[in-house]
Symmetry: C2
Subunit: 154 residues, 2 copies
DNA sequence: CACAATTAAATTGTGCACAATTTAATTTAT
DNA sequence: ATAAATTAAATTGTGCACAATTTAATTGTG
């Protein structure tokens, strides 16, 4: 109000970036809530689902390799992978060639779960309810944003 | 590859929406990592910072009111607010008119902290490093997305 | 008025996320 | 070959996030 479009003050700028952070934070939580009922039949949490997606794409990875794909460290992954092992979806075995590494591979039921998971993204896409190009563009913007943030935070 | 732009199969669509979810998830975590060093001097976590932003905008709110602004429930807020109280940034008092409610208000040092926080969004905006209209557009898209997700998940 | 239903916080329990440290194996540079 | 440095997981501890339950106060209804 009373300020032209081309004279963004420092305050405007600050406020805007705050809103972006909060919008991101809120959208992520809303997404997680939307995923919950879709993942419930598989008895997976969203982070567990991400790990399964990674393994469905490339099986038999080390904890480190899974971590680099999802930007998570062993402090997060070790207990998560133990839960997946307890659920008989994966097995964790020390690499005999390099005993520091633990290789994670799918069990038969881990591979079988993929079938049950196939319907999920479609339902979620319906929930998003936007044209494909919009989804692509938004995804790309978020990926760029992440790259910038990573560059800042290391 | 070998598929025209206008023939998105069900699989494409599924894959795309998966990527959007993951991009959102990854961008949020990258944001949190970028915030950490900026919030460290204030000794606040990002969720604590969000609560302080809410209170700086409108002081003396009930736990419920804070929760509706941030989409968080008492299970999350009660321990967080107790930590802010321990840090002497807020005080929690039962409402004498309705003893079920707890009103949260800033202390003098809670109000004073705002000065130290003022520099943060600017640094973050620099980290984002994009033109204002792009930030506005992205924020709007995320807000819309959240609204759709909330509509689905209740 | 009494009592059922509702509401606001708090509590309990599970599961990330991440910093910091520890343990053990491997690599590198003497 | 051996000591130092590096690497991969695991562990420890803090702080969300959220479902489910509990407690206590208030409101609504017969």
């Amino acid at each position: 109000m009373g300020r032209s479009e081309n004279s963004n003050t420092a305050e405007d700028l600050l406020q805007l970036s705050q809103q972006l952070c909060f919008a991101l934070y809120a959208a992520t939580h809303a997404f997680n809530r939307a995923y919950k009922p879709l993942l419930a039949p598989l008895e997976l949490t969203y982070p567990q689902y991400l790990v399964m997606l990674v393994l469905w794409e490339a099986d038999d990875l080390t904890v480190k390799e899974i971590g680099s794909r999802l930007q998570l460290d062993s402090g997060t992954l070790t207990p998560l992978l133990k839960r997946l092992e307890t659920a008989r979806l994966v097995e964790r075995v020390r690499d005999s060639a390099d005993e520091r590494q633990v290789r994670v591979h799918l069990t038969e039921s881990g591979r079988a779960l993929r079938k049950k998971a196939e319907g999920i993204p479609k339902k979620l896409a319906q929930a998003i309810g936007r044209p494909i190009p919009d989804i692509v563009a938004l995804r790309q913007q978020l990926t760029d944003l992440r790259a910038r943030m990573d560059a800042v935070a290391g």
